[in-house]
Point group: C2
Chain length 156, copies 2
Amino acid sequence: MAVSKDPRPCSIADTLALVGEKYSLLVLREVCLGNGRFDQLVRNIGAPRDILATRLRRLVDAGILTKRPYSERPQRFEYRPTEAGLELEPVLWTLKEWGDRHLRADSGTPMVLEHHCGHEFVPVVTCRACGEEAKHRELTAHPRVPGWTVGGPAAA
Amino acid sequence: MAVSKDPRPCSIADTLALVGEKYSLLVLREVCLGNGRFDQLVRNIGAPRDILATRLRRLVDAGILTKRPYSERPQRFEYRPTEAGLELEPVLWTLKEWGDRHLRADSGTPMVLEHHCGHEFVPVVTCRACGEEAKHRELTAHPRVPGWTVGGPAAA
DNA sequence: GAAGTGGGTTTGATTTTCCAACGTACAGGG
DNA sequence: CCCTGTACGTTGGAAAATCAAACCCACTTC
């Protein structure tokens, strides 16, 4: 029986291959907040400068950030999210929400997002088809690649 | 002027400190799919066994997974998500959605999730207060920690 | 002309990762 | 009994990534 030996083909893994390295999502956070200059990134993220330079190159290559001059003479650059980069923000929102709930229950959240409706923004993930909030138990996984299976829904 | 030198306090960073290492979110993916045994994880993720063992210990310590025996004699264990682990699934869904749209536009998605409403599950992140789909331009960030600022909304 | 700012690169020590092999405990078949 | 196979890791050494500090260059401001 020929069983696949390669890791499971998966969009989660592919996305993490682009933005899953240390600091990459924090770079995106800062850039989405409008803090796109190199020294701002170094200070706000706390990453080594060389690593940060590597990550920035990679994110630009991946089409998630753009590097654009904001000053000639002296040449100065700023990183900004592309459309694709902005579309990664839901990942940041869900990470933040989990952290706020599970790691900051007492100390309070260090950053509040305000939605244009006037209330604090708390992300809720819903089903595009029916509009209901999504829950683990209400989902079923169907692999579409031969040789890969799932063990059925996992209970806690 | 005393400027903070520490990295920005942030729930995104704190959450990534727990699940942001290489393979950790893929472990969560497999465990949520019901594939919680060590050799399944090795095969489906493609991670080195020693690294995987380290990640599993860390995720159990963090309260995201539990390790429970499914057989005495021989002793065999299975990893399952805790309630907190299941609540990280929205992160996986948003990562998958981005990858499906940006990296698999042609080739088709390797895994389809079906919602109990009968349709394919496509996650949409909405505002808990007003129910609208969230968009970058409609959010404003308010740091609640002295010394930390944002540069205003970033345009693409 | 001295010091400061912005945007990085270089250097060398430390830490992680990787892969293959090994160990242990049991089960099944001949 | 012996051999093979499965499940769940641990160990060892080589390769790669990370880290902090120093350095570099082009300007600007004092």
